[in-house]
């Protein structure tokens, strides 16, 4: 039986995180009263003209640099003509022949640890359309009437088009995840798939393994999570495989993915596709970007995730797991960096361990996050200092964290309130252990008989008696010594 190899390319629409729209000064805020964020320009009123948002240009350049693209010194906005009620001017201002970024790539890391380079054909800038709200039915067909909300009309987008270098649904997901992280890192896009600030269309075709010509491709739309990206591609691979094996032919078409059934259905055939009649928008001059401008944007580019993860492991000594978690959780990473910046001498691996582990867990428990973290940076630093100087035990630290979140008290205050620091000398611990042993003669016997695990029960009792302040390894030592001694 013929084996087929999928050939996949992804087109990603990313909403740029600017405060205002691409060609007017209306707010880009998500939601809001319908049509509250509109003006004559984004409503396509007669006589209104577009004025380009320079921050959006800067963000597009930033994305291009982060994706290793050649930033074009001259790019051109074009009109993409079609009629739809959510498109106020009857054309979308986009870039066609001359986009702002060309020839980039993104390295993705595969589960076997190898790295694969996915080519980025181009990135172009364009404005978003508005949205229709249908009454009486899900779609316009069958609805009694439809409302037009143009709050989103004119919001800046970049479209990132990959080369057909992707060979599996999993690679596609990893590509998309890596891309999302980079766009978030450089701060140009929220990367929120559910809210639609990041959208993916998948181009899928099959070819017999070992051959080079591409098969006929389909484009799948309506993908709104990483999981549905993977599922949509797999369902399209399955469909196309079955079709070819049964003697059929794949036809070039646009398909819609349905997450509930995990299948795709035809949206339109190639013959029905629009002739968009692109031509340069005469209302906008060619977009000229100087090398100086590109260099200036370059200096604002942060360290990218892969490089940062390597640095965290190689220079700071973090474990691969902690480095990975930090790199993927941008607010946590910022918090980590802030603590380090203000306390350069702090134990970095301990800090990472506590942030990734107990502090993160306690924040989640309290429904909080590292964004606007209730624990002051100085408090986290002093917690780490108390820990690494042995003034408190890990157990005490763990007990302090929820309090630090709830009451915003410093660990030093919590320590004082708990009656002092860790009890780490045999003079103080001896009498307490003696008392516990007297109260539990049967346990002492078991230990004597060689069941040393039973010492853990006694330690629990000691901890109870000391309010958790006893130094655990010293307690075990003393118990064993006293019982067997």
């Amino acid at each position: 039986m013929t084996q087929f190899e999928p050939v996949i390319g992804i087109e990603v629409h990313a909403q740029l995180k600017t405060n205002t729209k691409l060609f007017c000064r209306c707010s880009t805020q998500f939601g809001g009263e319908p049509n509250a964020h509109t003006c004559p320009r984004c409503l396509g009123m007669p006589g209104a003209l577009p004025v380009l948002n320079q921050t959006a240009v800067e963000f597009a350049i930033k994305a291009g640099l982060a994706l290793n693209c050649d930033i074009q010194h001259k790019s051109v906005f074009a009109r993409k003509n079609y009629f739809y009620p959510d498109l106020p001017k009857g054309y979308q201002i986009s870039q066609f022949e001359l986009p702002i970024c060309l020839n980039g790539h993104l390295d993705i890391e595969l589960p076997d640890g190898s790295t694969k380079r996915i080519g980025i054909t181009r990135i172009h800038m364009e404005e978003d359309a508005g949205k229709l709200v249908h009454q009486g039915a899900e779609a316009i067909a069958g609805s009694t009437h439809s409302f037009v909300d143009l709050n989103r009309a004119g919001v800046p987008l970049i479209e990132i088009v990959s080369e057909p270098d992707i060979r599996s649904a999993e690679e596609a997901r990893i590509y998309m995840e890596t891309l999302q992280l980079i766009l978030r890192y450089v701060g140009v896009c929220d990367g929120n798939l559910e809210e639609g600030s990041l959208r993916a269309d998948a181009n899928v075709s099959l070819r017999p393994v070992g051959t080079t010509p591409f098969g006929t491709r389909t484009e799948t739309k309506n993908i709104n999570s990483f999981r549905s990206l993977e599922r949509a591609i797999n369902s399209e691979i399955t469909r196309q495989t079955a079709l070819i094996l049964s003697g059929g032919k794949v036809i070039q078409q646009t398909r819609n993915y349905h997450d509930n059934t995990q299948t795709t259905t035809v949206l339109r055939d190639k013959e029905d596709s629009h002739d968009y009649r692109y031509f340069p928008d005469p209302d906008l001059l060619p977009l000229l970007v100087s090398q100086t401008q590109i260099d200036a944007v370059k200096t604002t580019l942060p360290e990218l995730p892969n490089a940062q993860r390597k640095r965290y492991m190689e220079q700071l000594g973090l474990s691969e797991f902690e480095a990975m978690v930090l790199v993927q959780d941008i607010p946590m990473n910022h918090y980590f960096t802030a603590v380090l910046d203000q306390n350069p001498q702090i134990d970095k691996t301990e800090l990472a361990k506590w942030l990734v582990g107990d502090i993160n867990a306690a924040l989640k428990e309290a429904n909080k996050g590292f964004d606007n973290c209730p624990i002051q940076i100085a408090h986290t630093a002093s917690l780490l200092t108390l820990l690494t100087t042995g003034k408190i035990s890990g157990k005490m630290a763990k007990a302090f964290i929820p309090d630090m979140i709830q009451t915003q008290k410093s660990p030093d205050d919590l320590l004082a309130a708990s009656g002092g620091g860790q009890i780490d000398n045999s003079d103080d611990l001896g009498p307490i252990i003696d008392q516990i042993l007297t109260q539990n003669p049967d346990v002492a016997e078991k230990i004597k008989a060689g069941k040393t695990q039973s010492a853990n029960f006694l330690m629990g009792q000691v901890m109870k008696a000391t309010g958790g302040r006893a130094k655990p390894d010293l307690v075990i030592d003393l118990i064993l010594k006293k019982v067997t001694g």
């Binding site: 004559p40 007669p46 003209l49 003509n81 106020p88 002739d275």
Partner: protein, 493 residues
Amino acid sequence: MSSTLPLSAAELVEQFKSRKLKVKSVVSDIFGHIKASEPKLNSFTALTEELAYQAADKMDAAYDKGDALPSPLAGVPISIKDNINIRGQKTTCCSAMLKDFVAPFDATVTQKVLAAGMVPVGKTNLDEFAMGSSTETSIFGTSRNPWDLARVPGGSSGGAAASVAAHQAFLALGSDTGGSIRQPAAYCGIVGIKPTYGRVSRFGLVAFASSLDQIGPLTKTVKDAALLLETICGHDVQDSTSADMPVPQFSAALGQDIKGMKIAIPKELSGDAISAPIAESLENAITFYKSQGAIVEWVSIESLKYAVPTYYIIAPAEASANLARFDGVRYGNRDRSSATLQAMIADSRGKGFGDEVKRRIVIGTYVLSSGYYDAYYLKAQKVRQLIKKDFMNLFQTYSAILMPTTPHPAFKVGEKINDPWSMYLEDISTIPANMAGLPALSVPSGVTNGLPIGLQIIGKPFDEATVLNLGHHLETQFNFHHRIPTGIQDLLK
């Protein structure tokens, strides 16, 4: 009716300054005259009396107190073409599509004109969406040429030209995409200038062909044109194609010596290509300029013959997209009987647009279609570059180019409306300046069989000063501006 209405704007301002005339009384006179003459002329689509009297009172107060005046045209009545927005007033573009559309914002030129203390008297008639050479495609009916009421005033700024020629306004703002200021100015015996592309902000002008459209003055004298142009020029951040260039005081350049200045006359727009009286008028102008010491030479601009066909690809292409926003969804004509979304858009447009607009949308859509784009639109853009290059080469040697504004004087109403190609050919000498983005002025240069004719002076980019100065010299030969056109002589003495 008062004999003050035939004054030029500059002369009127002198009367205001000396307080021999009050702004309010002139405004009152002019509305009287407009109302008496409109049944004959149909220059206006709407009057803005309330705005006019408000502005008049304010300017009278300023003149009374001897305050610093906002501009050298303070208090002068002006008409505004009905494709330029005045906030709170209708902008109809003389189309059923927009017949009830109220503009939500001022055009930049409107803001400037109001800030300069001019008095807006009304919105003037045009060919639907400025597509035409006669105002015959307006839903409000054809405006009439004040020199012969059986003839068109030209177009598309026909209402604007008629309003100034008939002294219904001292000044007018028009727009010019392929001659829409200059051709009606020539037909009506007044001055009209299309500035360099980018000189005047297009913000608030309903777009026809964005890369060709420019707003400009229609006036009784070159001096008035210079004064109005000074007021409306300048860089505007609201229009990305607006040029960031200094604005000289054009009026100060008028009357400067033209001795030794080199002027070119293209052979292609002479002889058989134009009517005999216009050829004669051109010869007279050549003799005059030579007598002033200018060097006048015949040249050949080979690419001129491509200007009209190229224009009729580029302008409709841009128009087909510019007019796509009129879909009946947010404003404008909506067909409420349609059963589906597609039908609603198609019927709203089908019923909202007239034949000429539809013709151009169809042409524009065709030339941009996949498979035809390279052969038409792209090729036309290349030819456009060629035309531009030919002009720029000439400007290495010459300071200006002189040619007729139109091949013939005004034609009769209905004469060409069913022959679009012959109508298009009337634009043969005005279109090149739009294609090359150059400043171009039409000045009255004589009368033939009772009809005015005009000559056109084209200049280097942003050199309106030379163009206006040459026009000013020529205009002194004819002193046309105080004349009362024959068609309204019974109304104005």
